[in-house]
Amino acid sequence: MPRISRGFHGRRRTDVDSSRIPPGQYVVDPEFPVLSAGPTPDVPLASWSFTIDGEVDEPRTWTWDQFLALPSESVTVDIHCVTKWSKIDTVWKAVSLDVLLGEVETSAEYVTASSEGGYTSNLPLADIMDGQAWVAYQFDGEPLEPEHGGPARLLVPHLYFWKSAKWLRGLTLMNEDEPGFWERYGYHNYGDPWKEQRYWGD
């Protein structure tokens, strides 16, 4: 039983359905906090590409123009950052990973997302299929700002947001799970906000 904090009353949000807020999270609005380990990279679209490689029949690469030509959808989702903020009803324009993964054949069960600058995050392949994950390139009807991961970022809203790698450049399909950047620094390997899986051992 947690200890009562003498004199603490808190401030419950009455304007947000509390069943949408995972344990330990609070809602920010309208701000959209930025968290990154280093400087924001400047990624020129002319040299941008997105590659799916690893345990696949044949690697596939898309240029920016080829990527934009893929079928996209408008996605409205809640996002949850491990640093405690959540944002409700964020609106993205994005390409479903079902579209991108539909181009390759694989027997792999894991995937490592890799970003400009060397950032990685790892996910089970099953978590980015069946309408659960996208590559997003617009936020709120505008091109995705560099500090939020533009030109394109991974969007996996059912896991803590560090899994949604910014400045996404590729997915590597793997037979073995391999911890990514924050996962090696003590953050949970899976990161389910509803189970409050923030750190190792949670």
């Binding site: 920010v28 990154s36 949670d202």
Partner: protein, 256 residues
């Protein structure tokens, strides 16, 4: 992008981070808006590195809970865990921690958390610390760690504040040059009589003057509000610092 020395230290599987009850043993007003809380936390893990943070969990009497993260201000060598909290006027947690809490009160916390935005004397230098406002807190933990260990690593701090009254840890920073830490200040809303130092936002010229030359491959840590960190980190890369040497921690505009 990663430093093997750090990974080697943190490569060990750690015990799960359990909630512990910290008891407030001392309170210090640092500025009009910021207060330091010193806590006694039984069985606090010994693998703390300067730059890490804790999660704090408060529970109201009806069971409602709020969690926030706060940087650790004390050095790993210090007795007592110090958190410096800046009051956000419309915040949910920071007004409680800066105004309501008294010595003897307790609240739950867990940690230490983080591993990338950390510095240990064995990482060497030169060390460049660039802080905006209360972004100084985790960088002060690094300075204190250097002092406790009597390290002579080339260390330079650049602090951007609104005014002198907003500068945290003034007495300690005044003594820092005697211990080999070069300190530089800029006051962006300058109104302090007698202030003859910088009064502009951090720019490339200022960062060059603080130094050292990027060719020395300094370890750089930047912490502060998001726009400050975005700006400074971009300037550092433009000046020739490798992106992988520039560690950032952005204090988002959050619900405090």
């Amino acid at each position: 992008m990663e430093r093997t020395a750090v990974l080697g230290r943190l490569g060990r599987r750690r015990a799960p981070l359990t909630w512990r009850l910290g008891t407030v043993t001392a309170l210090r007003d640092e500025t009009r808006h910021a207060r330091t809380l010193v806590l006694d936390v039984p069985d606090w893990p010994q693998d703390q590195l300067a730059g890490m943070h804790v999660d704090v969990r408060l529970t109201a009497d009806d069971g409602y809970q709020a969690e926030r993260s706060y940087s650790i201000a004390s050095a790993p060598e210090d007795t007592g865990l110090a958190l410096t909290v800046e009051r956000i006027d419309d915040g949910e947690v920071s007004p409680y921690l800066t105004e309501e809490v008294q010595v003897g009160d307790g609240f739950e916390l867990r940690g230490p958390i983080g591993g990338y935005f950390t510095w240990h004397i064995s990482d060497g230098g030169p060390l460049v610390l660039v802080a905006g406002g209360s972004g100084l807190v985790p960088l002060m933990a690094m300075i204190r760690h250097r002092m406790r260990e009597a390290s002579e690593v080339d260390t330079r701090l650049l602090l951007s504040s609104r005014s002198w009254a907003d500068v945290l840890y003034q007495q300690e920073l005044a003594a820092a040059p005697d211990q080999g830490v070069a300190t530089y200040f800029t006051l962006t809303r300058h109104s302090d009589p007698g202030w003859t130092g910088w009064t502009r936002r951090v720019d490339a010229e200022m960062l060059s003057e603080v130094g050292p030359d990027p060719a020395q491959r300094p370890l750089v840590y930047v912490c502060g509000p998001t726009p400050f960190v975005e700006g400074v980190a971009g300037l550092l890369v433009d000046l020739g610092h490798e992106a992988g040497q520039v560690h950032t921690e952005r204090f988002g505009p959050t619900g405090g």
